[in-house]
């Protein structure tokens, strides 16, 4: 009993530590004055200012474009790759591919970002351009760091899938390609969806890599960076609040879809 109480207190303290800063942030986004230390009265004026700010709206649009495109590309390339990797018979080819896949996950983000930036700079100079950093390079970098997440969420689902399912479908008259889409695809779909949502969220959120791989094409995190560089101001709080709830919504969505898909398969087990 005593241990249980201690556990509860400890858990509460940790959660307080994790959420207090976010709560303070949200709290002061509704402050009527510029202070982020003294609450002078409730106001939505920072939100109003936010929506009037054309730069922010533009950055948001760009963030969504990059996140949608990069997660879509990463999902297609990554899913195809996972299917291929799963079927690899040569052990060393498989482990080499997986090691390369793990590189962006193990490497510090700053190194990943810089390595791509250096390549882009080099290629740019080769074509005599001062900088080719922009939308294209940003998209490439996002696809690159997203693919491993898709691969690593699809692979386990493929492993769980009975190897004979595809053969059974072919046996019953499907071509190999039709067999994949009719039989294998439905059973790895949860993994694909999770991977895609993770990729989308990571792309929305990324600052470190984007910081190196784009120049003029600013996404929201980069815009926030330039905002916080100057000073502390409640319009950042307002923006952060919106982002927090958006991320929260996405995460809940991922979880609900996941558990829904799981319960679907579980129902089958009953």
């Amino acid at each position: 009993m005593k241990l249980k109480t201690t556990s509860k207190i400890y858990t509460s303290l940790i959660l307080f530590f994790l959420y207090a800063p976010i709560a303070v942030l949200i709290f002061f986004s509704f402050n009527s004055s510029k202070s982020t230390g003294v609450f002078t009265g409730f106001s939505l004026k920072w939100y109003g200012e936010l929506f009037k700010n054309a730069d922010i709206i533009e950055a948001l649009k760009r963030t969504l474009i990059v996140a949608s495109l990069s997660s879509a590309f990463a999902t297609i390339i990554g899913t195809a790759a996972a299917v291929g990797i799963d079927k690899m018979t040569k052990k060393w080819v498989k482990s080499a591919t997986l090691t390369v896949t793990n590189v962006p996950l193990m490497n510090p983000d700053i190194v990943t970002g810089i390595s791509m930036m250096l390549m882009f700079v080099f290629v740019g100079r080769m074509f005599g351009q001062k900088s080719i950093l922009g939308f294209n390079t940003l998209l490439i970098s996002h696809i690159t760091f997203n693919i491993p997440y898709v691969i690593l969420s699809v692979l386990p689902k493929l492993k769980q899938t009975d190897k004979h399912l595809s053969e059974a479908a072919q046996d019953l008259g499907c071509t190999p390609v039709a067999a994949f889409f009719k039989v294998v695809f439905p059973s790895i779909l949860p993994g694909i969806v999770t991977g895609m949502m993770m990729a989308f969220t990571l792309s929305l959120d990324d600052f470190i890599i984007s910081n190196f791989t784009t120049d003029t094409y600013q996404t929201l995190p980069i815009y926030i960076y330039s905002m916080t560089k100057k000073n502390v101001s409640p319009d950042i709080n307002a923006l952060s609040t919106i982002i927090f709830f958006t991320i929260l919504f996405l995460l809940v969505l991922i979880n609900v879809t996941q558990s829904r898909m799981e319960s679907k398969t579980k129902k089958l087990d009953l």
């Binding site: 004979h164 399912l165 059974a168 008259g173 071509t175 067999a179």
Partner: protein, 376 residues
């Protein structure tokens, strides 16, 4: 007699550097129940997958309907497979699983429904159409897999150890059921198993394989009574396999005694293997026996006692209804028709001595008595 349906001609397959099949020749006839029997790794599943189209042989021919079909992909072959762990489609219910092949053929809905209903009846799963496949028991899933494969009227049904995942009781029931289904459907079954009992009780024809080579093809009775070599004799049932010398036709000398037997046509004094089944050995008083030895182990098996006796250093297994205590000196007597003579083969001396006996029948996967016969 019947029509030849599928022929394998000198099939060879290598995976990496492992030669899995070393020249397989096999004819399968219409409406036959053929079983490929052998220990794991003998190449029986590969043989099945070659016919199914999942493995392409490195050399040799697969013939169907008078034409070579080596390069015909699985989905264009009129053979269907029941996979080891059923491979039912988890996202489809029983009805849709069985209808899968029919839908690929784009048959009208009415026809599909009629066929699925017929199939459900055939495998005794009426009323299960809307059930999720994962909610079924192992035996029921098995039936769905069979119905799914039979629904599109294959010429041959390929079954890859379909009963392996079931418990003993269910397995026995399904054996009878499968035989019934085969007779009702009236098509050829090619059945892969490592369980000799299963093979003997269901098949019209048993193909015993080991090490990528067909050891013997024959009816269950042939295989049991007239094994071609020590491997077959040992793999099918229990056998005492001894070195023998054919003194002349119908006289085989083993363990120092000249036994009368029914085999002839061997050279004078040719070295051969002699098989004596444990149930064919009669226990008699020591002084009246053709051979005599000391009992080293007795195990009660219900209907009979399983006795191991040591005769001149060779451990015989005998099944008898008379209890004999350990240490007793007993004699044995063997009728001429209980002795089966085989030519020497690579398997001679590998099997048939019970000096390191552990229950082989229960573990057909594990080759236990690999010890070289000390009697040599």
């Amino acid at each position: 007699m019947q029509n030849k349906l599928v022929s394998l001609q000198n099939i060879r397959v290598k995976f990496d550097d492992d030669e899995i099949l070393k020249g397989i020749n096999l004819d399968i006839y219409d409406k036959e129940f053929v079983t490929l029997l052998g220990p794991s790794g003998c190449g029986k599943t590969t043989t099945l997958r070659i016919i199914g189209g999942f493995v392409t042989p490195d050399s040799g021919k697969v013939i169907y309907g008078g034409a070579e079909i080596n390069d015909v992909p699985p989905h264009k072959r009129p053979f269907n497979t029941v996979f080891q762990k059923y491979a039912l489609f988890p996202h489809l219910n029983v009805y849709e699983n069985i209808a899968f092949g029919l839908r690929i053929k784009k048959l009208p809905e009415k026809q599909i429904k009629a066929k699925v209903t017929e199939m459900l009846e055939l495998v005794s799963l009426k009323g299960f159409a809307k059930r999720n496949v994962n909610s079924l028991s192992g035996g029921q899933q098995q039936r769905v897999a069979i119905a799914r494969a039979l629904a599109i009227d294959p010429k041959v049904l390929l079954l890859d150890e379909p009963l392996g995942a079931l418990d003993l009781k269910l397995r026995k029931d399904m054996q009878i059921e499968l035989k019934k289904i085969q007779q009702q459907a009236g098509i050829t079954f090619l059945y892969v198993t490592h369980d000799q009992e299963e093979a003997l009780s269901m098949s019209d024809k048993v193909v015993v394989m080991d090490n990528g080579i067909i050891q013997q093809i024959g009816t269950p009775q042939d295989i049991y009574n007239e094994p071609k070599n020590a491997f077959v004799a040992d793999f099918i049932g229990e056998s005492n396999i001894l070195d023998a010398v054919m003194k002349e036709d119908y006289i085989a000398s083993l363990s120092g005694y000249d036994f009368k037997c029914l085999d002839g046509g061997y050279a004078k004094n040719e070295l051969v293997d002699a098989v004596i089944r444990p149930e064919d050995v009669d226990v008699v008083p020591a002084e009246k026996g053709m051979l005599a030895g000391v009992v080293t182990s007795v195990v009660f098996k219900g209907v009979y006692f399983e006795i191991i006796i040591d005769i001149n250093g060779f451990k015989w297994m005998i099944q008898t209804t008379d209890y004999q205590p350990i240490g007793a000196m007993i004699g044995i007597s063997i009728e001429p028709d209980a002795i089966h003579i085989m030519k020497k083969s690579v398997y001679s001396g590998v099997y048939g001595d019970y000096s390191s006996f552990s229950d082989e029948v229960d573990n057909p996967e594990v080759e236990t008595s690999n010890e070289v016969n000390t009697n040599l």
